[in-house]
């Protein structure tokens, strides 16, 4: 299958930047990478590992401020960093293509799609100019974009994330590449979109015999598309080998820890967290970079950087004890999340919640035009004390909107929010009493954004303490230290600013701030989505402990089904702002499922090379819910007829509070999902 001369051959590459004091700080340290034609290699690492830098270096490109210190970067027999700009321009986008991470930002906003694709063809395609238009349409067909004419006329911001990513792939294919570099190609995309794009990439790899380099932090993506895997940690390669071996039985403690920290769909246990954090770029280190966090570390590990030696099953590992890597996780089972008692009192009740974003102008109201359907509609939710309800859905599902309404940041158009003691909450923050506000607290997605960069951690924690409890200075500090201890940060963090903390640390401060108010309900809006996987596990663990200690109820929103499964007692699946399915986590994640839930569950990637996601529905982005009938009517693979377009689906009870809203009777759903193969 693979040719034996490497197409991309990087040897002992060292890249760094000059620090303030003038010394050269390394970002990549003696990294090797060899890829042959027809081979797919995955580069795995967390933030700061240098993986993107490596991929870009393969094209002879380094970001502003970085320099190549030593090593060879050879493509097709020639050193990339020795080429003239004209040579580089010829290779890039031609034989060597790149698919960038965030295509939305990587496409020039002022040029139409057609213009940008024709530009790529003009530069790299051997066909005469007259045939370029047809070729462009062909390319769009190859990346499975319907209606190519319309898309070619559009501007980048008019396309959805999935469409933008396909355009990026089409542009790379325009040059008939021999090698493709993919920098986090599916990060930020919906689960179903991601599954479709990966299938497309797999097919392309097979049919064109290209060398592919996938950079990703997501082991599920790697498992699906790569033959070999290379794991980077702090700028060094720590493990390399065939995908199956690396994912089944990694020969390096870091890789083990990483795998263990990924939540799995099938189990309701919390993933195990890796303590500590990787050394930042440019931080001095001696010996193995992972030693400070490694349970197996010995004096030898800390004395000198270990060389790459053979581990089990054709892997090479930068560890002195590759055979003992399994001792890291060994036979420790994951922790069970703390549940809540069946008869706990009610903490929060949502009744018939409906939220709108549209604001009809004067003209529309005068005309009496019918209003578009509400963004979120018909939400009934009953949250008990100490319970965690997970809200799951893709973009446009309205899950964050619901949280904002509960918090009072967005007044609902209809419906009622009631607290446990039967107080009806006024719709907006301005109308609520401080006591009511104290009982509901929210944690946001992006830790960089949710902490005021000008305030120290002590100031940040003082805000709720002062507002709700009237605590004064010294009392504030004492309590703040207590809070920091509960989130496992401690007193040294009191006087630091957010700019000095890592993503995980910032998120912990946000958690501490939320708990400073002593809330009954904590709203979590995608709080782990912006974090590395190993850090995510630590935050989930923390939430679990806090839940047990304070009997707090959580409403946990995420697009990541595995994370929701790990933490939730009950789960609601949302599509276009309406609840499709609701019930205990185990029931929702098992059969029978709402057709949409089935689509989602089948599209999830796991770090298991033998598991293939099933694509059950088309990857179409819907902008708004349909005016009537089932919200899933336009994409449902098992749509049973016109009734789906006109009538709201009934709520069908599957026992134990498990409810599915579908026109198809439950036993038929169950039969389809466990028995027969899917139609598409």
């Amino acid at each position: 299958m693979a040719d034996t001369t490497p197409l991309i051959d990087i040897r002992k590459l060292c890249v760094g930047f000059r620090g303030r004091s003038g010394t050269m700080l390394p970002v990549l340290h003696e990294v090797d990478l060899t890829v042959c034609r027809g081979e797919s290699i995955g580069i795995v690492g967390e933030s700061g590992s240098g993986k993107s830098t490596l991929a870009l270096a393969a094209m002879g490109y380094l970001k502003h401020g970085l320099q190549k210190i030593s090593g060879d970067v050879i493509y097709d027999g020639a050193e990339m960093f020795d080429h003239s700009p004209a040579e580089l321009a010829r290779l890039r986008g031609g034989q060597l293509g790149l698919i960038p991470q965030n295509s939305g930002q990587a496409l020039t906003p002022t040029m139409r799609i057609g213009t940008q694709i024709r530009e790529a063809l003009h530069l790299h395609c051997a066909l005469p100019e007259g045939e370029h238009a047809t070729r462009a349409r062909d390319l769009l067909a190859q990346v499975r974009l319907p209606d190519p004419e319309a898309i070619l006329r559009r501007y980048p911001h008019e396309l959805s994330g999935g469409q933008q990513q396909r355009i990026a792939i089409a542009m790379a294919l325009a040059g008939e590449p021999d090698a493709l570099l993919l920098d986090e190609p599916t990060t930020g995309l919906d689960v179903t979109t991601q599954a479709h794009i990966l299938e497309l990439l797999r097919d392309l790899a097979r049919t064109r015999n290209m060398a592919m380099v996938y950079v990703s932090h997501d082991l599920g993506v790697i498992a699906r598309v790569c033959d070999r895997v290379q794991v980077l940690y702090a700028g060094e390669t720590v493990l390399e080998g065939p995908t199956r071996a690396v994912l089944r039985d990694p020969a390096h403690p870091y890789a083990r820890g990483l795998l263990a920290s990924i939540p799995r769909l099938g189990e309701q246990t919390l993933p195990r967290a890796l303590d500590g954090r990787p050394p930042g770029p440019g931080e001095p280190r001696k010996g193995c970079a992972f030693a400070p966090r490694c349970a197996l570390a010995t004096q030898d590990c800390r004395a000198a950087t270990p060389p790459m030696i053979a581990g089990g099953a054709d892997q090479i590992s930068r560890c002195l004890y590759p055979g003992r890597a399994d001792e890291i996780t060994g036979d420790q089972a994951g922790t069970q999340p703390h549940g809540c008692a069946k008869d706990s009192p009610c903490a929060l009740d949502l009744a018939g919640l409906s939220i709108r974003y549209d604001r009809p102008g004067l003209f529309e109201r005068l005309r009496g035009a019918p209003r578009p359907p509400a963004t979120v509609d018909g939400i009934d939710l009953h949250l008990q004390q100490g319970e965690t309800i997970g809200l799951v859905g893709e973009s446009g599902s309205g899950k964050s909107t619901i949280l904002k309404a509960i918090a009072g940041l967005l007044p609902p158009a209809a419906g009622q929010i009631t607290l446990g003691d039967d107080t009806v909450l006024p719709p907006t923050v301005e109308g609520r009493r401080p006591d009511q506000l104290r009982r509901i607290q929210m944690i946001f997605q992006n830790p960089d954004d949710s902490l005021n960069p000008r305030q120290s951690v002590a100031d940040i924690l003082a805000q709720p303490l002062r507002l709700y409890f009237g605590l004064k200075d010294s009392d504030q500090r004492v309590r703040a230290v207590e809070l920091l201890d509960t989130v496992r940060l401690g007193a040294p963090y009191l006087d630091r600013r957010p700019g000095q903390l890592s993503g995980g640390e910032k998120q912990r401060v946000a958690v501490a701030r939320a708990f400073a108010a002593g809330p009954e309900i904590v709203l979590c809006d995608e709080i782990t989505s912006a974090l590395d996987v190993s850090v995510q596990a630590a935050v989930l663990d923390l939430l679990n402990d806090l839940k047990a200690a304070h009997k707090t109820a959580f409403v946990f929103v995420s697009h990541d089904l595995t994370v929701v499964r790990a933490l939730s007692d009950r789960v609601a699946v949302l599509y276009q702002g309406r609840i499709c399915e609701f019930g205990p986590a185990a029931a929702v994640y098992g059969a029978p499922s709402h057709p949409y839930t089935a689509v989602l569950l089948n599209a999830v990637l796991t770090p298991d090379p033998d598991h293939a996601p099933r694509l059950m529905a088309e990857d179409v982005a819907e902008l708004s819910p349909p005016a009537q009938g089932c919200p899933f009517q336009r994409r449902c693979p098992v749509k049973c007829g016109d009734i789906c377009d006109t009538d709201t689906p009934p709520a069908r009870e599957a026992g134990d509070g498990h409810v599915i809203r579908c026109h198809i009777p439950l036993d038929e759903l169950c039969a389809r999902q466990t028995g027969e193969a899917p139609k598409s």
Binding site: T53, V429, Q455, S456, Q500
Partner: protein, 292 residues
Amino acid sequence: MSTATPAPRGLRSLEILRAMMARPSGAIGLTLVAFHLVLAVLSPWIAPFDYKAMDATLTLAGPSPAHWLGTDHLGRDVLTRVMLGGREALLVTGTATPVALIWGGLLGVYLGLKGGWRDEVAMRLVDAFLALPGILPLLVLITVFGSGGEVLMPTLAFFFGIPVIRVARAAAHEVVARDFVSAARARGHRPLDIVRRELLPNVTDTLLVEGAMRWSWMLLGFSALSFLGFGVSPPKPDWGLMISDARVYMSLAPLGVIAPVVALSTLIIGINLSADALAKTLGLDRSRKAVI
């Protein structure tokens, strides 16, 4: 992820000053500004002559040991008048600028947070005021009320504060969109508390740089007014006025024009360079891309 510990809060200004001095533009700029400020304060004591003292026998004289820069058309010592010429300007603009910043900044930030109809109405008014040709309202008010410092200061503060509203509002918009402001809102803090604790600290950097630029424009405006005869009234010395008087005699006694020009220019260059250095130190002109 930076690794430096920041200085404790009260000393941030010192940190900034130190960083500014490390840049050549900052060093030169701050030195020039400091020089002019010291000169303005000390000049009544160190100037060689009385600024009013006329010597009819020595009009439009060239440089001499007694009069280093010569004399003007009324026989007054040019050096003295140049040394004193910045006092009125600095006094008026030095007080008007902070006032303009404060009222424009607070209003702009408040509008940025509140939005809604208040914002729309206020923006129409701001646009309307900005549509008035720069110098004009000043000229009109001065014509009526006279050109003393007491009139100039509030007038300048008012009219130069209006563009600040715009800048502050835009800066506030950027901050309001961030989650920590939503978080503060969700906790139930009052709007004024949010403005004070969340918005203002994140907006002050932009306002400081804007303030420095405003100051230099205000000085230019002040000098232009004096030049046109509507600013400082003779015989008080003022650079704009001196240029206006002396330009008629430019071919005979160029120093009478060159000296105040140099004085005014160095002050304004100093302010502009400092503003530039401040912007770079605070990272306001850099793109925010991380290196890796």
